[in-house]
Structures are given as structure tokens and as C-alpha cells.
Symmetry: C2
Subunit: 80 residues, 2 copies
């Protein structure tokens, strides 16, 4: 069972990496750019048949390792 996890900085946390990307794109001529925010992406393949069990486990991974919940949010979605 495959899951996609995106970890993004919370709204009020500064994102210098995204700022640099945004500035670079603007310098390349993308003048209508409002904002870029960067995050992390994980594709996790689990050997687990039970849907809700797998989801719980992915959530645990996020909470314990993948995301720093003080400054980051995470989103889990199942892949077909």
C-alpha cells in the first residue's frame, strides 16, 4: 500500500528556501508570482493490507520522525 506524505512549514514560519526559489523565478521573468513555499515529500510503500492500520502507521511515522510538529504540518494521502 503506497502513501504520499507532504510535510510543509506552518503558515507563520519563515521559509527562506522558498523565498530564494521565488526570487530566482522572478529574476527569470515570472513577474506574476505571488509566493513559493517549499516542503518535503515522501512516498512510502507499506506491506500492510488493512487500510486504517496502514494510515495509523504512516501517521506515527510522521509524528515521530518525518515532521517537526512545532513548525511543520503534514498531510497523508493514499496512492492508487
Amino acid at each position: 500500500m503506497k502513501f504520499s506524505v507532504t510535510v510543509t512549514l506552518k503558515k507563520d514560519v519563515l521559509d527562506p528556501q522558498g523565498k530564494v526559489v521565488s526570487q530566482t523565478l522572478k529574476n527569470m521573468g515570472m513577474s506574476n508570482l505571488k509566493q513559493v513555499r517549499q516542503g518535503k515529500f515522501f512516498e512510502i510503500d507499506l506491506n500492510e493490507k488493512d487500510d486504517s492500520k496502514a494510515h495509523m502507521q504512516i501517521k506515527e511515522m510522521c509524528e515521530k520522525l518525518l515532521a517537526n510538529q512545532i513548525i511543520e504540518d503534514f498531510k497523508i494521502s493514499k496512492k492508487e
Copy 2:
């Protein structure tokens, strides 16, 4: 108009970062883990009303800056 962009390594490209995450999770007791692959995530906010124009522009950003198409794939999706 907001878009999400995920940039992932192509299937046959080694992903040492994902390997480390995978090994760490296994050491934490997640024995049914098959694979983890890591990628990048961008949330891009554009000042553009036209749907297809905006999509084209995001695609251009990916091709020119965000993704290295030799080893990476990218996926664009519109956010509500």
C-alpha cells in the same frame, strides 16, 4: 491560483536520503516498511486568472528551475 508541485527522483535513480529514512523507521520498529523515497514539494501561488496559462507557466518553472529532468520527474496539481 495555487498549485502544488512534487518533484521526485525517477524510478531507477538511487535515493540515499530515502534509504536513510527507511532504515531509521525500520530501526524504530516499523518492520513492514517496503520502501521510502524522498522528493521535494513546492506550493506556488500565482497571480493569474487563466487556468491553462497558469498551468503552462508552472510547467515552465519546473522545467527551467525546480526539477532536473535527467534524474527527476515532476507533477503539477491545482489546489482548490
